[in-house]
Amino acid sequence: MKSQNYSGNEDSKQKNNYAILIRLMRYFLKRLGILFIVLIAVSMLTFSVTRFAGTPLYAAIGVYSTKEMIEERKEQMGLNKPLWLQYVDYLKGLSNGDLGSSRRTFAPVKEEIGERLPATAELVIYAVGISIFWAVPLGAIAAFKPHSWADRLGSVLSQFGVSVPSFWLGLIFIYIFYYILDIFPAPFGRLGGSDPPPFVTGIYTIDALINGNFTLFLEAVKYLAMPAITLSFTSSPPIFSVTRSSFSNVLGSKFVEAARSYGIPSRVIKFRHITPNAAPPIINIVAMTFGYMIGGAVLVEVVFSWPGIGTYAVQAMDFSDYDPVLGVVLLSATLYVVIYFLVDLLQILLDPRLRE
């Protein structure tokens, strides 16, 4: 082979690694900046709701207040300051983790959410786990074999998953599996009469296993089963769809065809070419589903009397107790935005093309 100097052509294409790093840092900072902007906007929204949601003033004072008492209270609560200063106070409070207090129980919202968050987390983790367990393999098979049983089964399950209201499905499950078949226990919480396991994570199934208490673990699972399956069924359609379309896209791509024509065995192609390329959108949708579900599990929690942050918010709502509601809303929104940000960064990590 003649040894020609091709580097002249390639210099323009040669990327300085240093330049790529700088570009990535700038992108990261830009996304971080956007993250902050969005969080600020979210907090502004919740702040304005606290101002709108009926004057907390009168509820705190009562009927027999004189004008002086009202003024004093107003001063004390900082309601005389200009609006933007009140907002700054609000932000200061947030940075300390102060989410207000429940009007009913007088306990700090932060504490009450903290007590209930593990319950929601447990439910969501298992629900997403179940979804991944059936939707991803089915979606992959459906992509490899279009119009096969996998494709049709997955499509039908997806369509029903979207059409069925989660709370109604929960009720149907309760009716069938508790009332008629007596397989699962009554929906009144996370455990029957038993005491929860010693606190490690707050997630009963994990804590029970850590403490070696297998009976408690089984009991927790029994109570977890119906709500987790319900939540999974109604939130898995996007996972199935995205898995199927992602694999489908990759299967039809030129590099898969080329690899086959170069004689690479199909088994190898599946693992080294197809799966890594199909994975990013799937990881994306799973993470987004997780982020959404922390707040989106409300209806299922309510139906099963699951002591999570969803029921907390709804109960508070019934008593016109607004601080808890806003605390939960703020938390969910923040979690979602942060997960979205992390997923964005993950995409860059996974796909070198995005680094340009």
């Binding site: 059409s163 209201p165 009720l171 709502m317 509601v325």
Partner: protein, 268 residues
Amino acid sequence: MINQLKRPPVFIFLILLFIVLFGPLLAPYDPLEPKPMNTLAAPSWNHWFGTDNYGFDVLSRVLYAAQIDFSLSLVGVLIGGGIGSLLGATAAYKGGFTDFLLLRFVEVIQSFPVLLFALALFAAIGGGNRNMILVIAIVNVPMYLRIIRSSLLPLRTAEFIDAARCAGLNGLTIVIKHFIPNAKGQIFSLFVLSCAYAIQIIAGLSFIGLGVEPPHPEWGSMINAGAGYLMLGVWWPSVFPGLAIVISVYTINGLSRQQMTHQIRSSV
């Protein structure tokens, strides 16, 4: 076109439409007329869907609720979709900082799980039908904005836009009359899907006691009312409204799928 009508999804959808439009006329009983003597009666020839705990006829309530659910969702989607499309087209047209700002704005809305967002909104300004429509509208704005924006973005530099500008038309006119019509297909298919989604939201909110106030018939609140009795074996007050939701949403989605395959096939 006639062949289209013969296909199951469209056919069922038309039946659904008929029920929605004429439900109240078909209802055998007044949905708000309680029969205290006849509470929680199982389905029978007199009451096809049985009666609930107030003695209301479940079938009649389901039929009336169809109108309420559909109309609320329709209005909400129209408002939200209209605003969202306009904003999306503006974002695509103007680009730059306007685009950036609109996208951030939409990100903020989308970061709230729908139900919690509704909770917060109701905490601020109260419940009721009007605010329900507001919730639906706000929830739809981001979806429409994003989708219209992404389908119109490539057209930003198209020649006919330049031509319109040269002709002296102002920005808003261009956006409405020339830009948006290119996304007609997208808007329509999104419209169908968002109506279905809106029904789910309305039902969910009514289930937890916000939204449509009892005793007005609404599928979600009916399910809620019947929930306690489910564990005692009285299944009909909750099951039938839920079935109505499932059938409605499934049919509407099926229609949209039908539309899409038809579009794909006719473009081949």
